[in-house]
Symmetry: C2
Subunit: 444 residues, 2 copies
Amino acid sequence: MNDVIAAIATPAGEGALGIVRLSGPDVLAVAARFVRAPWQPRLATLALVHDEGRPVERAVGVYFPGPDSYTGDDVLELTAHGSPYLLSRILELAVRSGARLASPGEFTHRAYLNGRLDLAQAEAVSLLIRARTETTARAAFEQLEGRLSNAVEDLRRRITGGLAIVEASLDHPEEDLPAFGPETAAAAASRLAEEARRLAATHRRGRLAADGARVSIVGRPNAGKSSLLNALVGRDRAIVADEPGTTRDTLEETADLRGVRAVLVDTAGLRDEAEAGAVEREGIRRTRASLAASDVALVVLDRSVDFQEPDRSLLEEAAAGGRPVIVALNKADLPRASGLDGIEGVQVSALTGDGVSRLAERLADELARTGAAPEGEPWVVSLRHRLALEESAAALDRAAAVAGEAELAAVHLREALAKLGEIVGDTATEEVLRELFSRFCVGK
Amino acid sequence: MNDVIAAIATPAGEGALGIVRLSGPDVLAVAARFVRAPWQPRLATLALVHDEGRPVERAVGVYFPGPDSYTGDDVLELTAHGSPYLLSRILELAVRSGARLASPGEFTHRAYLNGRLDLAQAEAVSLLIRARTETTARAAFEQLEGRLSNAVEDLRRRITGGLAIVEASLDHPEEDLPAFGPETAAAAASRLAEEARRLAATHRRGRLAADGARVSIVGRPNAGKSSLLNALVGRDRAIVADEPGTTRDTLEETADLRGVRAVLVDTAGLRDEAEAGAVEREGIRRTRASLAASDVALVVLDRSVDFQEPDRSLLEEAAAGGRPVIVALNKADLPRASGLDGIEGVQVSALTGDGVSRLAERLADELARTGAAPEGEPWVVSLRHRLALEESAAALDRAAAVAGEAELAAVHLREALAKLGEIVGDTATEEVLRELFSRFCVGK
């Protein structure tokens, strides 16, 4: 924590500008060896970068004295021309002057250790950088602003309050404490458990926002699944051929459907495995696995072919576990066959493009229902947070169950607190921290 | 010139930080519609980026009031999280607030129009961003600092001085002017022409620094040219096979040889065209074209095969026009054949790697001789500058030739001045400006 770390903070590649960032208690002492500038706090200053006196670049530097900086330590940011060569040269000069190459996420890790961000906020930084849609960006920004942390802190405060009363009754059984029967205590603990569980349940939305909804495109061979994937993403992603069974591997393509990221998965056609060869059978196995992991199923029916028993079982399989199903009635350019009357679906022709935008809208509606950000409420994006909330809720349930036995209840309440503490980081282990920050990019 | 331009100034891709840059007289008025911050000149300030009041990001902004800014106009730089999505969202908000998307190089173009940089300096910005080696970066930095501009301005000042005397003698033939015979005048003009020509001649080095030296690897079929290319660049770039004539297209690969960028060109083996098929003949034609365009020839001889007449003519062809030739005596792992006694070359085995680093050193020495930056002297990187200097020198020669006829001499001196003015931009045409700045990246 006492050394100076340095990294290129902007993306790799050529650009107009690039930033080299340094942080550490001695940052100005290190900088004095390769940059000349009359630093003043937060004032953008023209600085001469030199290699033992030989000019290398004129950068604009800003010195952010700690603790009011990103990391909480003294920070120096040098904005230079966006030349990859030049930026690595400046970084090299920083290292020769006593700085050390920062590891991934080390700036944010220091910010966390210095109390500038709690752990949930630190995780939001990485989420924000990887954001691909408005929904993810907003979720990450709100988490960074502390919305989730505040909700967790609120829960912790109230559990701590309850724990204080329980502990007081243990320490001073002789005193006249406020009326606090086991039923009241149990109800309070159950209410808190319910709140924690409700927050944990927002993870479904959070995960969709962060990773995108998985939409499996399933159907019988030759229904036009690959053509439909291509039509939806607007380019030739999947190989299309008249031959049934052309698609064997599952192909993935992402699309932004009105702010929600969707991963569209093209799959091998499903048919009686007894009739399929070994390669096709493996394809069918993968299709089933993809379907099981998807949030929405897009079932493609060939409406020019009579609706049959395999179609019905396909629809049932797609809807298993309450999964939302959207039906595309493909080949609307061909005459309609029979047996489709009861089927509600979007008429579409992947060939002519007719109905494709209607189908995309229908998908976007479905995703908006399940994947859009709730307005003004905290929500959970990370699985780690969901699990901690669920474990905290379970501990609160256990506390409620033993509300009459103060000593036991206190143990469970402390466990509930510890689990919540893991979210903001107070009780996170070294391994958790290392794992989290290693997923960051260098320079952050 | 009166509108506000905006662009993402950092490279595309994910990173810790990214910058959106705005410039124009009304920059703060535009910014007020989507960023909230108490701007103070040059003070890095935490700013809330919002979409009609809805928070989007907290950026660190710096406001640089003109004329003391990069462009000379008011500039605002917003440093946000390096998320491509977020940065384009901020750019979109800037555009919705009244800014316009900047065209490539438009910030630097404005800096030029506002007199913050002359044209040679503006060109150096683009050169610096594309720099790949220390030599190029230094050449670009020195040009940006004004070393070439100063040399050109010095020439212009002295020509203007001479022109003033010539014009005075025309305007006031009756006055007693200092003794200034035609011989003295002619000698002065010739001296200036010589200086302009000397500066133009530095372009050879400048071009090598900017584009890299072209090194053609030539030799008879199966001498091991492709193996040697692979050994020099340290990876399997070219397909290697026992079959003579494996290489048909010329393959290029760049290498950094002690600060000088080299483009190594693997070529088809040269042999009697009468014996070669059509494809091979085309390959041989390309080899010859590559050799003609190269700065250094690396001739590969198979030292396990007797030296023969075709080898001698190959060496002669490689050295045509005084081109430096380096000979690699390849297959040092096999017994040495005869006839090679007079040939000075580097013993090397592309197969075992023996001698490869010695050969690279030898190449680096040769390139350092011709391609390294001269210490403390101005030099020309751009062909445009070289041509302008040569044309200026030619006009000065013409002036020297007619030194006795003041009116004619004045015409040529004015032309010499105009040509030099094109370098720094005073007399550059709109087309030249447009062409130059269009080669910049957006955001610069």
